[in-house]
């Protein structure tokens, strides 16, 4: 069965490459087109925030859980967040049970960088008692069906889950933290969005599907904030990029991040 799969993918490989040369793709998209995107917020009631994203056949679920804990010693007046990605074996024949591997860690760290470097979360607002108690947000991304471009799906899922997150107001009395009934929105002030490219021979394609990822030479992810600042960039894959590839990718990302940002459902702001 695996052998057949192998031969099929050799043929597929040639076909993807020759299509790309003609500016075409397997599923009929243009080189700069995204697959269909759906973003659903708040699907997991037990989470403080959540989002289910589909990008073509790729499906991911992002959830946010909050806890009260200690700040880092060097940032005593700031809350903490961590991003974790789980490549559960549900999602792909090549994923295996176990702790995150290098791909899952790279994904999580690139998503983290987009959020952190854009200063998307107002971490000062997560401080409860400076140096002692702050809110800690755990952003967990579960890959459910891996049909390519986990980076962009996960960035969308994470930021949507954060926009959707509700946290209780707290009061400090005699050094003790009291959790109140009133829920407020999580303090989000920027919406980083990423666009990922695959280099196939000498063409750049946007939002690669899994078959394209199998044949690409290199990958480039560019994350931008709403002011067209580049806040994260990550080259992947065993191939190379040319200077003009990178410049061209930035121009495309500038347009596409805006389009994707429009699709994100916004939480009701805490007025």
């Amino acid at each position: 069965m695996q052998k057949i799969h192998k031969i099929a993918s050799e043929i597929e490989k040639d076909s993807i490459i020759s299509l790309a040369e003609k500016g075409k793709r397997l599923d009929g998209r243009g080189l700069e087109d995204f697959r269909e995107v759906t973003i659903e917020a708040g699907v997991i009631e037990k989470a403080e925030g959540s989002a289910y994203v589909t990008l073509g056949d790729t499906k991911i679920m992002a959830g946010v859980k909050l806890e009260i804990g200690e700040p880092f010693p060097d940032t005593p007046d700031k809350g903490v967040f961590t991003v974790n990605a789980e490549f559960v074996p549900l999602a792909s024949p090549v994923f295996e049970p176990g702790p995150p591997d290098e791909d899952a860690i790279e994904l999580a760290r690139v998503i983290d960088r987009g959020i952190r470097e854009s200063e998307a979360i107002d971490l000062e607002k997560l401080c409860i008692i400076p140096g002692e108690k702050v809110w800690i947000a755990f952003i967990d991304i579960y890959i459910l069906d891996h049909a390519g471009n986990l980076f962009d799906a996960s960035t969308l899922g994470s930021i949507t889950a954060l926009l959707n997150t509700k946290m209780p107001e707290v009061k400090v009395e005699n050094g003790e933290v009291k959790i109140l009934d009133k829920l407020v929105s999580f303090p989000i002030r920027k919406i980083p969005v990423s666009v990922t490219f695959a280099k196939i021979n000498d063409k750049l394609v946007v939002d690669p599907c899994i078959e394209e990822e199998h044949v690409m030479n290199a990958r480039l992810t560019i994350t931008m904030d709403e002011n067209d600042n580049i806040v994260a960039m990550q080259k992947g894959g065993a191939g190379t990029l040319k200077t003009e590839d990178i410049y061209k990718a930035i121009e495309i990302a500038k347009v596409k991040t805006k389009e994707l940002r429009e699709k994100i459902p916004r939480g009701v702001s805490n007025g």
């Binding site: 699907v43 997991i44 499906k59 679920m61 859980k65 702790p99």
Partner: protein, 258 residues
């Protein structure tokens, strides 16, 4: 949401004989079953039962590494039950807990009797269960859903497997307990059966049950499994229709392209 204050209910059963979610004693929660929802998996199914949301994928029969794990005379069935970190009130660490490891084992043993493993020697059949939201009775909902995912993967089966938990709640024996009844009730008895063969493939119990209560609960569980079985059949039928329609459509498209 952890921070919405849940009052612990004074009574789990009202004077009118209604449960916390308004159900009667012998009533199932609303159940939604979908088959074939994942693209990469060989078979898949999704279940919502109350607020449970569980996804199951099946891969196999397939090669197995390391090879010395392979069985000479049948497929190795493996089962991984996992809860997403955000599926419960307090964040669950992604590392498998002892509970998840035990449940993976009993779920596997609940499914195994229904599968013709002997037809695929030296291979592996993997069942991956991801609990996205947990609301009581997840192991039973997982079994119900996994049986559909196995069928969707085209794996030959003797029978489906249908599962449901009964509980002892404020002294009453009730069907399909929810999270609150699980936490604050007096007993839990997850049960699975092969519905046509009337054979039990899972039985576990906690709490304190007199022998009489046990029998009452066990018979209720078997009846519940029957109801679940009907829902499973409908979900499979729906999936077959979808596949037929899709195949017809693809044939049409191919005809167009040529």
């Amino acid at each position: 949401m952890k921070f919405i204050k849940h009052e612990i209910p004074q009574k789990l059963i009202t004077e009118d004989g209604l449960r916390t979610d308004g159900r009667r004693f012998h009533e199932l929660r609303p159940i939604k079953l979908e088959v074939g929802i994942l693209k990469r998996a060989d078979g898949s199914a999704y279940i919502e039962q109350g607020r449970n949301k569980i996804m199951v994928a099946v891969y196999g029969p397939r090669e197995l590494h390391p090879r010395h794990l392979a069985l000479p005379d049948k497929a190795l069935l493996r089962c991984f039950y996992r809860m997403a970190s955000f599926s419960v009130e307090d964040r669950k660490s992604p590392a498998p807990s002892r509970r998840e490891i035990e449940l993976s084992k009993v779920i596997r043993e609940a499914l195994e009797p229904a599968i013709f493993l002997e037809r695929f020697p030296k291979t592996a059949i993997d069942v991956f269960i991801e609990v996205l939201q947990a609301d009581g009775g997840t192991r039973c909902a997982s079994i119900t859903s996994a049986a559909l995912a196995l069928a969707d993967a085209g794996i030959p089966m003797r029978d489906l497997v249908s599962a449901v938990a009964v509980g002892k709640v404020d002294g009453h024996i009730v069907l399909d307990i929810n999270d609150l009844e699980d936490k604050y009730g007096e007993g839990d008895m997850p049960t699975a059966m092969m519905p046509r063969k009337k054979e039990v493939t899972l039985i576990q119990l906690d709490g304190q049950w007199s022998i009489e209560e046990f029998k009452q609960g066990f018979e209720l569980a078997l009846k519940g499994c029957e109801q679940i079985y009907q829902l499973q059949r409908e979900a499979l039928k729906k999936r077959y229709i979808e596949i037929r329609e899709q195949a017809a459509k693809e044939m049409g498209e191919n005809a167009e392209n040529t």
